[in-house]
């Protein structure tokens, strides 16, 4: 089959066609009904309904539902395995596939693509901000760009988390796949039309509410906000289904002997992440649907004109959106904990403490949401309570930092690219973290709220807690995924460009904020004295952008090279490194049994896993 034909008949193409067809049908349907009822023609209800069912259209077109529909009819369907006959290996990645590694890679590639899209938005509005005065954007374009940047980047993170969790967890616990492979495919594929909806929202007029979409503004914003709300909402299905799948997988499919405290530490991070995702996501879903319903059918929740309360939205929104920042970072911190022992040749210091601190962060994360609302008009009693609870998050996070130091101390450190990114992650996340309590402290937050200090704080936490560790993971597991080695020199170049640039960007943002620069403004007062800082931040953003492109080039070109990597280039003890790369279809041909602790570096003849003798009868 020719390349063109494979692409044209792939799930991607069929999904997009399905989405377009269903969107058109939805719009037509509503307008026909409205016409029949004698209502005037308006755009919005049709668009909302069309958007809603367009996601179903995508999934139907892509073939995500095929097996389930057969089940409903009472048919049994065998799980499809391997590359379909007569098609090249790469075609699997464009089609619905049930293998967790394929899905993990699909997540990962989509995540990087979306990261580039969000980065282009950032670069665009950063160029506008480089100097005071309006240069080439108007207010509307600026607002749409930064709002889109925020949500697209968050979508990219969620996809990246999905990539790491999906690819790694079954391998690490010795499972052949996730517990529900079809649900797993659904989790990935539903994120695609959601992302398309969000981007479509930017195209049809955009919106001016930021990624938080506070009413009443979001109730009046342009049409684009509807697609944004719906896209954000649909993406929630991905998180919920993925998280449940992960929890069941870990609960039921661990290899023999793998007790909870013998799992690779990343699995703990994945569990903590899933606990947040499968619960909190529901509440943001409620807040988003309420906003959609208030706009299209006039149900009143938030608009004070009808008696509603704008703060209710903020509570429901942050009840998810605070915990979700720990969804962003916990897997990343798990990667740090996973890699440090390997590159330090020393056991992970305080394994149990690190494992439990992930749970601690996840659970504490549910008690702090209103720290985003210190000036929103809450009663003072709540401000005290949330100030204290927020500060407590520093403790489990601190435990991780101190334990990492303990791991490195007196180790034998080497500095290949993944390790560099791990160290970069620690330093960047540290500055992001320690700029948190000053926000938790209400008196100082009165000044800092909604300034660029916040922007600096969260770029540091998200880069340190996600972007850096994600890049570390990409480099580290690249030989596992592709069987080939990336180019070390380009990897180092990426690191040494990105890290200093990031420091300039983040410190610059915080500096501008403290001097009085508000967030979400298209233009700033030269009298604040932040113009030079803004210029620096823009330049730094460009450097980060170029460095990411270097990584993309490095990984793509290395994946196509012929040279094979060593089987276990990092001399890791983790189970996934004991089998060939790329990993065979069913991971472990022979099941393994856990007979020791995962990070016993330096303990002579200690074993972590032992491959069991081949089952008889084959």
């Amino acid at each position: 089959m020719g390349t063109g034909k494979i692409i044209l008949t792939s799930s991607f193409t069929r999904g997009i066609i399905g989405q377009a067809v269903f969107a058109a049908l939805g719009i037509a349907f509503i307008n026909v009904i409205r016409a029949a009822l004698g209502l005037e023609a308006t755009l919005e209800p049709g668009v909302v309904f069309g958007a809603l069912i367009s996601v179903i259209g995508f999934l139907l077109g892509a073939g995500v539902f095929t097996d389930w529909i057969k089940w409903i009819g009472g048919q049994k369907t065998p799980l499809r395995h391997g590359t379909p006959a007569g098609k090249p290996e790469w075609s699997r990645y464009l089609n619905v596939d049930y293998n967790h590694k394929v899905i993990g890679i699909q997540y990962g590639i989509t995540s990087v693509i979306i990261l580039l899209v969000g980065g282009i938005f950032a670069i665009t509005f950063r160029l506008e901000l480089a100097q005071p005065g309006m240069q080439f954007l108007d207010n509307d374009a600026y607002n749409t760009l930064f709002s889109g940047h925020g949500i697209v980047m968050i979508a990219s993170i969620l996809l990246g988390v999905g990539a790491m969790v999906n690819y790694l967890v079954p391998l690490m616990i010795g499972a052949p796949d996730m517990a529900f492979p079809r649900l797993n495919a659904f989790s990935y594929w539903v994120a695609v039309p959601s992302a398309i909806l969000i981007l479509a929202g930017m195209a049809v007029g955009g919106w001016d509410t930021g990624w938080v979409a506070y009413p009443p503004l979001s109730l009046r914003a342009p049409l684009g906000v509807q697609l944004f709300l719906l896209g954000f909402y649909m993406n929630g299905f991905s998180s919920i289904a993925g998280a449940i799948n992960l929890l069941v997988t870990v609960a039921t499919m661990r290899a023999k002997g793998m007790s909870l405290f013998r799992m690779p530490i990343f699995v703990w991070a994945a569990i903590a992440t899933a606990l947040i995702q499968f619960t909190a996501t529901q509440t943001v879903g409620v807040s988003l649907t309420m906003a959609v319903a208030e706009r299209v059918i006039g149900l009143n929740f938030f608009d004070p004109v009808g008696g509603g309360n704008p703060l209710l939205y903020q509570h429901l929104f942050w009840f998810y959106s605070h915990p979700v920042v720990y969804v962003f970072v916990l897997p990343g911190l798990g990667v740090i904990s996973e890699l440090l022992p390997v590159f330090s040749r020393k056991p992970l210091f305080g394994y149990k403490w690190i494992a439990l601190s992930s749970l601690g962060i996840a659970l504490l994360g549910f008690l702090v949401w209103a720290h985003h609302m210190f000036v929103a008009g809450m009663p003072n009693s709540l401000r005290y309570a949330f100030m204290l609870s927020t500060m407590f998050v520093a403790i489990p996070t601190g435990v991780k930092f101190f334990s990492w130091v303990g791991t490195m101390w007196e180790g034998k450190l080497s500095f290949e690219t993944p390790m560099l990114f791990v160290l970069g992650a620690i330093s960047v996340f540290l500055i992001g973290g320690v700029t948190g309590p000053i926000l938790a402290n209400v008196p100082t937050d009165l000044h800092l709220h909604d300034t660029y200090w916040i922007v600096g704080h969260f770029h540091a936490t998200m880069f340190g807690g996600f972007i850096f560790p994600f890049f570390a993971a990409l480099y580290y597991w690249f030989p596992k995924i592709t069987g080939r080695m990336y180019k070390e020199s380009l990897g180092k170049l990426h690191f040494w460009l990105m890290t200093p640039a990031f420091w300039v960007m983040s410190l610059g943002q915080m500096s501008a904020g403290i001097m009085g620069m508000r967030r979400r403004i298209a233009d700033y007062d030269p009298a604040l004295g932040v113009a030079n800082t803004q210029m620096l931040v823009t330049i730094a953003g460009l450097v980060i952008g170029w460095s990411v492109l270097i990584m993309v080039y490095n990984l793509v070109s290395s994946a196509r090279s012929q040279e094979m990597a060593a089987m276990n280039p990092w001399r890791s003890r983790s189970p996934e490194w004991q089998i060939p790369s790329p990993v065979p279809e069913f991971n472990y041909d022979v099941p393994f049994e856990v007979v020791g602790d995962p990070y016993d570096y330096g303990l002579s003849d200690s074993e972590y896993i032992r491959m069991m003798p081949a089952p008889s009868g084959d």
């Binding site: 449940i244 039921t252 499919m253 619960t279 409620v286 319903a293 509603g308």
Partner: protein
Amino acid sequence: MSAATAHHDEAHGHEPSYAQQTKSNRLGLWLFFFSELFLFGALFAARFALWGNTRPELSQVLGLIVTSILLVSGYFMYRAEVAIAHDDRKTFLSSLLAAAFLGIVFFVGVVILEWNVFGLELNAFGVEWFGRLKPRDGVYGGVFFAMTGMHALHVLSGVILILFVWNNGRKGHFSPEQHWGVEATALYWHYVDVIWVFFYPALYLIGHLA
């Protein structure tokens, strides 16, 4: 790997056994329920945030009737599950139909009577049979339609599930040993029932009339 799966080919050898898969399914379903608790909890919280200690004027009789119908349907669902476990196919199928029927009655009761989508009016036996609250009636309309709507959506999907199960059951698909589909549908149906047991007082009973 047990002897029962030994005859499967290479690929199938990696698929878990029915018992194994059912164990996972069961856990997954309960996690899903826990997850949905946050959905309904958020609506619940919205109700208390926006209504406080008040409630809209709703027909008490109507509320009581639809609630009882839903609970009775739960009984039939339970009977269906017991029946299939004892391989009593006749009771199994008829109970399913009864449960689905009552579910539909509940749904219709909410949509036609309580929501009054056709804008009717009937006063008989001293009872107002059609609700007067409209979606645009401020926060009362908003919360009432959001909570009943979200719940009705679950009832509707439950009814559809039951009908699928019935259809497959009719074709002889379930057995006393292997009927995860029935178990899951029953659990789901009971779950949706229980949610209503909390929604009903929140909407109809708590607080004084606004």
